[in-house]
Symmetry: C2
Subunit: 508 residues, 2 copies
């Protein structure tokens, strides 16, 4: 009878990225693949995001082997990945040829659906990836990062959707990484896109659960015509993760909308992760409830605890509220970027610096680059004073063009460098690993033959997890580290896999 | 602009009953009373349910003193309680005069809104309490216990609402204790009540959060015209508790519905309980996620873990699924009662017995009484074979009348008995305490002068918590206890504060 609502299951990627610091080993996912493949999902998100980095950094797993394994074990269902546009899965902009090669290789190894986003919603940072995926014949999904600001109106987002449509995407994703999408805007946005871009435009909604309201938003989005929603089996859901798959199915009963999911297939998957989850306790986010303060700060929970520890390191643990109040101001000053990796870390860390050292007394290099346009454009104007400070700090001019246009061809050089490394097999896949994670891959290539580590199974071997993760690895909780001394203070800010030392004398 | 939605805050009663085994001390609630009183709630649920029992059993607190304290500290907002109809807050039916005296005294001590329910939805068990509350001039709320069965149609529930209306209630509550109320039935039920009973009939919806769908149900209920919904501040919400207050407020933004809650007043309340909660860790329900299996068994999470431990005690820990499958059959056999204290425990324990000892080989006394009508009538017919077994077991006939009609006046006798106890002050309040909890109050009167114990603050003094709570004390997790021996097995089943020994030889 009712309209069929399709579902993307997140358990193999975003669920454990959000709730278990991306540490889940492939070995712990293999047992459920058959059930997942037969449960009736539209797609199974299982790759990309921070998993690529986590594979080589913590798990001694080849991410490409992980992808091929998923493909083999789940032949019936679309596999889906999250791709950070021109940043791929790494922490800088890559030259177009590298982006194209990555998309080709991902398609060749089995990827079907590419969800492509840019943290700043600068569509120029999506162009190449969208075009490359389209050329492979796979599904290119254009993404709107949902955020709230005076400039981010429904009309502005709908306009963005139309531009993505014009770029040839196969579907539009509304990505709500901080659970800010309330029911009425969810309704209005989906309705607006359907009206502007055509009823046959596939609209895919991705919400986190953090604020507690987004299952209601799914209901409203579905009423407005949304085609696909993202959920996770209930034993690894909620908190900063996602709404539970089973609850979505039950919620729709009698509404005239229905999924084609088979709960009998989902039950063993859920029971499996209920057993597995406690083994990853050391990586679990402490936050499991609902946090509606995010509606004000827009800073996700993980980032808050990080800022708290940054502040404590400076003996300023009592100033968190000041930082929370400062975040929206810093965000306004740099043109209202959505707050998602890496912009959330950049803005959050700058807010901490402002509170501890005085307003814009010290700019992080990344914040300055953001202000100068080196990550792309934002919807809002930059504050002229902050722009001048950034220019002075970086000794380079602001740009308005596409950041990747500044890059020279780099593939051959990357290939040569990678191929010289011990353990690199010279494949394009290895070169892509090196391109994105030059330092980590150097170590990984050496140890790859030892085989995967399962940090849930073998907690003795978790020493590696003490290494701070880079900011953009999807672990906002470790974006920056600060170390206090009595007089002068040296901050070690780790962003995009690079550590920056900032030394400052106390203001007093 | 929009229609105003009123909210009842549950933090002072059902939240900690559901999540902290009703153990919260008054002392830990006092600091937030001023904020709660000024936050704009329609009412503050703060008394009744299992709190009366918990006060005297575990906290050495006089429940009447608790009520007077709330009244004094929260003069502006309605105080609300949960009352089990003819059972008051105890574990048997009381004679009408006792019921009337209880309602009088509660009103006199400051109670405003009486939510009156019967576990079987037998409205005859509500009559006296509703009439008594009306006579005090306070708010009598008639309650529908929501459940799902082939007989519990929207029409049947709407009919029940009309009968409550005819009894003169001031509002209708839809009480969804197991989080079974899905969005569409929520909509249909509220709509049906408004159409049948008149648009001006106040409809108050109470859902637990256990299955993860009920915030959506609130949205739909509100769209259908619901006037008031129940929530709890977020730091003590979700799991088998309730939907978060803050999330409700945020959810409604832009929908044309709005609360009059002041989030700035709620924030400190929330922060307070975020700090308090960990101190009650030992009483915390382990379950904090979403459980949609309840839609099948209708057995709340706490009851499941209890059945599991009953089974383990019999070396039958692997037979939980059989019990879960048996519960709906037992429920059908006894006429589809809603599963709420005490019927949930009665049906659940009988299901365990059926699985371990063979179908209806042993009937608990309580199950037999339920089948024979001594708790009231159910919507469905009883299975004739089970009815015959129950008659044989209890050596008494089935009844169709109102159970309390079998009772003789008992007030003067209760007064005499109570007044003879050490520490009883002879007040009606003390007699009511004795009437409901004869054994526990005997001990409580003796120790009352020592003052309240705070089990969260002083974990050393928690020895009392090792005492098993009676089934009907709102702690389904402790409904029955079983102890295994090698040959013959003796079960100790604790229901309504009375322990029953059942000795059985193994079937094999």
């Amino acid at each position: 009878m009712g309209r069929q609502i399709e579902v993307t299951e997140l358990i193999l990627r975003d669920s454990h990225q959000s709730l278990l610091a991306t540490r889940m080993a492939l070995e712990d996912m293999v047992p459920v693949c058959e059930d997942l493949d037969n449960a009736g999902f539209w797609s199974l998100e299982c790759w990309g995001g921070a998993t690529y980095d986590a594979c080589i950094r913590y798990l001694n797993e080849d991410p490409w082997e992980r992808l091929r394994t998923f493909r083999k074990l789940m032949p019936k269902t679309r596999l889906q990945m999250l791709l950070r546009g021109q940043n791929l899965l790494g922490y800088r902009h890559y030259e177009d040829d590298v982006v194209r090669r990555f998309c080709d290789k991902a398609a060749e190894n089995g990827m079907d659906v590419f969800r492509i986003f840019d943290a700043l919603n600068d569509l120029r940072n999506l162009e190449t990836a969208i075009d490359a995926v389209r050329k492979t014949g796979k599904h290119a999904q254009g993404t709107i990062c949902y955020t709230v600001s005076p400039l981010h109106t429904i009309e502005a987002f709908v306009e963005m959707a139309q531009r993505l449509k014009d770029m040839g995407v196969d579907s539009i994703c509304i990505k709500d990484m901080a659970a800010l999408l309330k029911p009425q805007p969810a309704y209005d946005l989906v309705k607006g896109i359907k009206e502007k871009c055509g009823e046959d435009t596939l609209v895919h909604v991705h919400c986190h659960a953090t604020t507690g309201v987004t299952l209601v938003s799914y209901m409203k989005a579905i009423e407005a015509g949304a085609d696909i929603v993202d959920t996770s089996v209930s034993s690894l859901s909620l908190g900063s993760g996602h709404n539970p798959t089973e609850a979505l199915v039950e919620m729709l009963e009698g509404t005239g909308f229905e999924t084609r999911l088979d709960l009998e297939r989902i039950k063993p998957v859920n029971e499996h992760f209920a057993k597995i989850r406690p083994r990853y306790r050391q990586f679990m986010s402490e936050f499991t409830g609902v946090d509606t303060e995010i509606f004000k700060s827009q800073i996700p929970g993980g980032m808050i605890s990080n800022m708290e520890s940054q502040l404590k390191g400076q003996g300023a643990g009592d100033r968190l509220q000041e930082v929370m109040d400062e975040v929206p101001r810093v965000r306004a000053d740099c043109g209202y970027p959505p707050l998602v990796t890496p912009s959330s870390q950049i803005v959050g860390t700058q807010a901490v610096f402002n509170v501890i050292m005085g307003k814009y007394q010290t700019l992080t290099s990344e914040f300055a680059d953001l202000v100068l346009g080196y990550y792309g454009s934002t919807l809002g104007e930059k504050d002229p004073k902050v722009l001048a400070l950034a220019e002075e700090r970086q000794q380079k001019p602001p740009i308005t063009g596409r950041p990747a246009d500044l890059l020279k061809p780099e593939w051959e050089e990357l290939r040569a460098e990678a191929s010289a490394l011990e353990g690199c097999d010279g494949s394009d896949e290895d070169v892509l690993t090196f391109a994105q994670f030059p330092q980590v891959s150097t170590k990984f290539f050496k140890t790859r033959s030892e085989g995967p580590k399962n940090l849930g199974k073998d907690p003795v071997s978790t020493a590696a997890t003490d290494t701070p993760a880079p900011a953009a690895a999807g672990k906002p909780g470790e974006a920056g580290k600060a170390a206090a001394d009595k007089g002068t203070v040296t901050y070690v800010v780790s962003l995009y896999g690079q550590e920056h030392q900032v030394t400052v004398s106390p203001a007093a």
